[in-house]
């Protein structure tokens, strides 16, 4: 019943705001293409040097790269990976952040202090730098890079939820719920959480956009995702030098897609935050 209501609200809202609509549209197109189209296209890893460096054409929409791979297929395959990573990081960071934030807000005292100082520590580092440092420590793979980026985003959620919880705690409905027998845990997760989570959901969409940027950026530097895996950042790195020799299309497509994808998330997030404030 809850989800029905939520989806109804989402549909009406989306229809009435052009920005939100654009954001959703872009996202949907990307997701759809990423999932469906690759079935019809060429293997993103198949190399054929004889067709290397073909400019964009009807046969190869985005052209081919130095190994003769179809950039369009690679971009779509990368889309799958990047968007999935972006969403996963946002989701995991949100879940962990929300749990920590609720504990901090509801329990208070020493526990609150410990959690808050830890988040302060993490926030002292720029996310990108932090991710690099963590990867240097725990190692380099898709999973480990995702973990490294996730850690950097957890504090945002902790703070958001904590301040909402502190606010909601004082309201009458919480007092009334106490008087009808709610235990402290039930109060926190059943009553307060649904009222406190709004801003975090909005934040999650923004974080999804940021994490796509971060992961692609790290891959560009050679951290985390490596060639020959199709990933936007990797592809930009691979094609970076080609521009000098006149082959402009090899980095353009993946680079543009990074921007477009994170823009889509930002548009959605922006509009959602306007709705909720």
């Amino acid at each position: 019943m809850q989800t029905q209501a939520i989806s109804k609200v989402v549909v009406t809202k989306v229809r009435s705001q052009p920005m939100l609509l654009t954001g959703f549209a872009i996202l949907l197109i990307l997701i759809f293409s990423a999932i469906v189209l690759p079935i019809f296209l060429r293997d993103p890893l198949a190399t054929d040097v004889s067709i290397a460096f073909q400019p964009p054409s009807l046969r190869f929409f985005f052209g081919t790269d130095k190994f003769g791979r179809d950039i369009f297929s690679r971009c779509l395959s990368a889309a799958r990976m990047d968007i999935a990573i972006g969403l996963s990081i946002a989701f995991v960071a949100m879940v962990i952040g929300v749990i920590l934030g609720i504990i901090a807000g509801a329990v208070g005292g020493r526990v609150d202090e410990v959690i808050m100082r830890s988040t302060d520590l993490i926030l002292a580092f720029p996310g990108f730098v932090l991710a690099l440092v963590i990867v240097a420590v725990i190692g380099d793979s898709v999973l480990k890079v995702s973990i490294a980026v996730t850690v950097g985003f957890i504090p945002y959620f902790v703070r958001l939820i904590r301040s909402e919880v502190l606010l909601q705690r004082e309201l009458d409905y919480v007092s009334a719920a106490k008087l009808v027998g709610n235990s402290r845990t039930r109060l926190a997760y059943f009553h307060i959480l649904p009222n406190a989570i709004g801003s975090s959901v909005v934040q999650a969409t923004l974080v999804a956009g940021w994490s796509i940027n971060t992961v692609a950026g790290l891959a560009f530097l050679g951290v985390g995702i490596r060639p020959p895996t199709a990933e936007w950042g990797v592809m930009v790195a691979e094609g970076a030098n080609d521009i000098a020799t006149g082959f402009w299309w090899t980095s353009l497509a993946p680079g543009a897609l990074i921007v477009i994808a994170s823009l889509a998330f930002h548009l959605i997030g922006d509009q959602l935050s306007e709705e909720t404030t």
Partner: protein, 311 residues
């Protein structure tokens, strides 16, 4: 034995340097089945007192006895759970906007009476029917109902655990005047049926008179006058109560400018003057009022006042 007995209750907020003394020594008794009204303006501490009796705030010192058990002590807090309930001022805020009202009325049946969900829902429906809310309202969310309806939901929820005392904190203040009577009628009929006691907190004097057997008037954290409704209105003794009664606008009569008997403003709870708290505003102020604090003394049978000017 009194249902509720409050002894020398004190409540302070804030740190040592920035201390707010909100309740400065209150004694009060509430008997079974009676309605005690608590009147006062902002800063009087009446809401804080109500919340302490309900168990939502812990006193700084003093005791609250419920059927003889000191519920201000940590180990006894569970003793009163479900047996003392509260209805809050703003019904829209006292209900969780995410859930249907029916489920919220069912909660005490599930959590306190330990019923299964389906049974609890049955009871909740019946409870809502008894406050004149038809079944169709069960699934509604608070945003889809009016203030008056929501307050009835809040009352239904409070009644679910069959409490012995309900603390009502300005239950009609945020509702239209034409709805007041409906809510008051409902409360009175509930009391007739179940014998529940009420601690009725309000700033509205006409209202408190119509529902209370005894009334306590609070000013700056103390009860300055305590008497039966009759006594309070017909033989008002404390200068603050007199000012309150004369300042309250009344319908009818002639529109003559009122003689204001209280000048100035209520002092802040952070800077309570030594001696009588009314000293900077009272027309009867004396030197003694500035150096000594008056005590609540029984002047005639059942009528207590805290003022040096009253013999």
């Amino acid at each position: 034995m009194a249902l509720i007995e409050v002894n020398e209750l004190i409540k302070n907020f804030g740190s040592r340097r920035n201390l707010s003394t909100v309740i400065r020594g209150v004694d009060l008794r509430i008997e079974k089945g009676e309605t005690v009204g608590l009147v006062g303006e902002s800063g009087s501490g009446k809401t804080t007192l109500g919340r302490m009796v309900a168990g939502l705030i812990q006193p700084t010192s003093g005791k609250i006895f419920f059927e003889g058990v000191d519920i201000s002590r940590r180990e006894n807090r569970m003793h009163a759970l479900g047996r003392i309930q509260m209805v809050f001022q703003n019904p829209i805020q006292s209900l969780n906007r995410q859930f249907s009202v029916g489920l919220q009325v069912a909660e005490p049946f599930r959590l306190l009476k330990k019923l299964e969900k389906s049974e609890a829902v049955e009871h909740a429906r019946a409870s809502m029917n008894s406050v004149d809310l038809e079944d169709k309202y069960f699934k509604r969310k608070p945003s889809q109902m009016s203030g008056g309806q929501l307050q009835r939901v809040a009352i239904a929820r409070a009644l679910a655990s069959q409490p012995e005392l309900i603390v009502l904190d300005e239950p009609t203040a945020s509702l239209d005047k034409t709805i007041h009577a409906v809510i008051i009628e409902l409360l009175l009929s509930v009391q007739r049926e179940s014998g529940v006691s009420f601690l009725f907190i309000t700033h509205d004097l006409t209202l408190v008179r119509s529902i209370s057997s005894r009334i306590g008037v609070m000013y700056l954290g103390r009860i300055v006058e305590l008497a039966t409704a009759e006594q309070l209105f017909q033989n008002t003794l404390h200068p603050y109560t007199k000012a309150l009664l004369s300042a309250a606008p009344k319908v009818g009569g002639s529109a003559r400018p009122k003689k204001i008997t209280l000048i100035g403003e209520t002092p802040s709870a952070r800077a309570v003057p030594f001696g009588c708290s009314l000293q900077n505003r009272c027309p009867l102020v004396h030197e003694r009022c500035r150096v000594e604090m008056p005590k609540l003394i029984e002047v005639t049978h059942g009528h207590h006042v805290e003022c040096f000017a009253v013999k």
